[in-house]
């Protein structure tokens, strides 16, 4: 089977879902014949027509709101944001309408909001953010972030199948870097389930998104040096799989939470809160957080490289944890 990239897996999921279900359509800026800033929707307008791949004006609040309205009427819209950073413009429809309406009235919103996030592309403060933390903890929203090609496909298909609003954070740095076999159209990654991507016994890394690949790469060396680190990919950031986190810590007694979002945002807060409440007696060392400092994402290569977690910085943090 031929290999496809993480980005191609996203496109394949969109294509397969649209072939299977007339109700699925897309709204976003420049997603039609242009194919979107990263080419995620390239070719879809030709296949499905511009009535299903709808170019919108620059108005995130408008078209995210409109997606909710169409979903209210039984459609299954997918919204593409050009960069996750611009999700701030759509905060009101997401948080005030999308999150609270089912609980108040029973109206369902099967909407997927695709949000390309993350750094490493020299995007600077407005094109490289990890804003998932603004939505983690919001009752009524689901937040997912695939870290593998298979999950890029499977989580997107599950998000499209889901009757709740799902924010799908896709990592720009993984778009062309990760490759894997093309998932079958039946592939689904269950929302709310983490996955142990690498078994180990000495420490646990809990991470998501680009952190998964980073954790694997960094521990390839560490694990060769006689220690064995388990990697848990959250996959769903909210509501997240508490059980998977706790059972891994039960096995390893040491935990490091790794994320690309600045340390006081992202998904780390809710994970650390769980650990402090429910894993205290399982731990042989304080839980460790490995994440950037609390600043916007910087632009200069020297600054961004210093800001983002790296193999070196993660290895050093793991050494600290293992030697405590």
């Amino acid at each position: 089977m031929s290999e496809i990239t993480y980005l191609e897996a996203i496109r394949a999921a969109l294509e397969d879902a649209m072939h299977e279900d007339e109700r699925v359509f897309m709204l976003g800026e420049d997603i039609g014949h242009f194919g979107g800033p990263f080419g995620a929707t390239k070719g879809l307008a030709e296949t499905f027509g511009t009535d299903r791949i709808i170019d919108t004006p620059i108005s995130e609040e408008g078209f995210v709101g409109a997606a909710l309205g169409a979903a209210w009427m039984g459609e299954r819209p997918i919204v593409e944001l050009q960069f996750a950073d611009f999700i701030s413009c759509a905060f009101d429809p997401i948080v005030s309408v999308g999150a609270k309406t089912h609980w108040r009235s029973g109206i369902r919103f099967p909407v997927v909001i695709r949000a390309p996030f993350g750094g490493g592309i020299r995007g600077g403060p407005f094109h490289a953010s990890c804003p998932e933390g603004w939505f983690v903890g919001v009752a009524g929203l689901k937040v997912v972030a695939p870290g593998t090609v298979e999950d890029a496909y499977g989580l997107l298909r599950s998000s499209i199948d889901d009757d709740d609003p799902v924010i799908y954070f896709e990592h720009k740095g993984l778009y062309r870097r990760l490759k894997g076999s093309r998932p079958t159209p039946a592939t689904r990654t269950p929302i709310g389930k983490a996955r142990v991507v690498q078994a180990g016994s000495d420490a646990t890394i809990v991470t998501y998104g680009a952190g998964v690949d980073l954790a694997r790469t960094a521990t390839a060396a560490t694990n060769g040096n006689g220690s064995s680190v388990e990697v848990v990919d959250l996959r769903t950031l909210w509501p997240f799989d508490e059980e998977a986190v706790l059972s891994s810590i039960d096995k390893t007694s040491r935990v490091l939470v790794l994320q690309e979002a600045a340390r006081s945002t992202g998904a780390a807060g809710v994970v650390m809160s769980l650990i402090s409440q429910h894993a205290f007696e399982l731990l042989d060392a304080p839980a460790k957080l490995h994440a950037p400092v609390d600043t916007p994402v910087p632009f200069a290569p020297e600054l961004e490289d210093a800001y983002l977690p790296s193999v070196d910085s993660l290895t050093a943090a793991l050494d600290d944890l293992l030697s405590y």
């Binding site: 004006p57 078209f63 409109a66 209210w72 009427m73 459609e75 009235s105 799989d241």
Partner: protein, 353 residues
């Protein structure tokens, strides 16, 4: 009392001479039953809100309480212009629109009184409720945000080739938000069957329209700025409002794209029950109360058209009974149940839960 009180840069139909109630316009083309229905819906809102205001003052309605006094005609007109398959998102001033959709007085009071069997099961209060089965979307307090949501509903109708419309309201206040710009712009470029009814009640909370926008001619701005046809109508005249909104709904349904109506009135109460509206000039309030009360205006028109006083009194009594019975029914409903607080956060609870 022939001089009109000054309001800040505001429009309305010029008052005819005299001092009495100004009757609604004549409209022989609008069936008598429809005109009576408009009166009934307006009265239902008026009497329900009067009763609810008393309950609020007695401390029996938690939170705050909002009325649409002086604006009852617009919600009633819009509600009657819609067909059973259309959808609508009413806001705080449009209780009569809920009634037109078949929402009952008991439904409304169960929400005001925060009962377990109310439309939101006690999860939300006052006018923040919808009845999805009746095509009514629940109000969201971030006014303006339901404009793009309605545009999306209209987009669904267009995609499926269904002859349905989505209607929503907003006021002069939300006219200043970005949401309505984005929503109207999107409605235009997507050419969807959306209808916007702008309730210009002259005040956004305490701020008069003249201090909210430079050009207070909202209809002119909507036509010129968003290229959406927008009729300006006297919102205290139920018959004029019904004709204007009916036209907008018909055209949108016929594939003529989005349409709007600006309905001009005066908010006769404060923004909410705690607000005495002392910032509204009393002569302006008196003027609208004496000459432009929408209920009185419609009744006067019906009287002039030969409907007997006794029939109108009977209608009033019937509505009054309906409100009393609806309230009694709601009061028998059980209080909200804390054990259900987490029910329905998700339509599909995640698989680990």
């Amino acid at each position: 009392m022939s001089t009109e009180p000054a309001s800040e840069t505001q429009w309305r139909e010029p008052d005819p001479p005299g001092s009495g109630v100004i009757p609604c316009v004549e409209a022989p083309a609008i069936p008598r039953e429809t005109q009576l229905e408009l009166l009934q819906l307006g009265l239902l809102q008026r009497l329900t809100e009067d009763r609810a205001m008393l309950l609020y003052r007695q401390g029996r309605i938690p939170g705050s309480y909002y009325t649409g006094r002086g604006q009852e005609a617009v919600g009633a007109a819009a509600g009657l212009c819609l067909g059973p398959d259309d959808v609508v998102a009413p806001l705080n001033r449009e209780l009569s629109c809920h009634f037109a959709r078949g929402v009952t007085v008991a439904d409304v009071f169960r929400n005001f009184l925060a009962r377990a069997t109310g439309p939101t099961r006690g999860r939300d209060g006052n006018m923040h409720f919808g009845m999805p089965a009746r095509g009514v979307f629940p109000l969201v307090s971030m006014l303006g945000v339901l404009c793009p949501v309605s545009v999306g509903a209209a987009l669904a109708f267009k995609r499926r080739g269904e002859p349905r419309v989505a209607l929503t309201f907003w006021g002069d206040g939300a006219m200043c938000t970005g949401d309505v710009h984005e929503g109207m712009n999107l409605a235009g470029v997507l050419d969807v069957p959306a209808v916007f009814v702008i309730q210009n009640n002259q005040y956004a909370y305490s701020t008069p329209t003249g201090r909210e926008m430079v050009n207070t001619n909202i209809a002119e701005r909507i036509e010129g700025g968003w290229s959406i046809p927008c009729q300006r109508v006297d919102g205290t005249d139920a018959i004029a409002a019904y004709a204007a909104i009916g036209e907008a709904v018909r055209r949108a349904r016929d594939g003529d794209g989005p349409h709007a109506v600006e309905a001009f009135s005066l908010r006769m109460h404060g923004h909410a029950a705690h607000d005495d509206a002392s910032y509204v000039p009393s002569e302006l309030l008196d003027h609208f109360a004496n000459r432009r009360d929408p209920i009185k205006r419609l009744r006067k028109r019906l009287e002039l058209d030969g409907v007997p006083q006794s029939e109108l009194d009977e209608l009033h009594a019937r509505v009054s009974d309906e409100v009393a019975e609806g309230l009694a029914e709601a009061e028998r409903a059980p209080p909200a149940d804390p054990d259900t607080i987490q029910d329905g956060v998700y339509a599909m609870p995640p698989s680990h839960a």
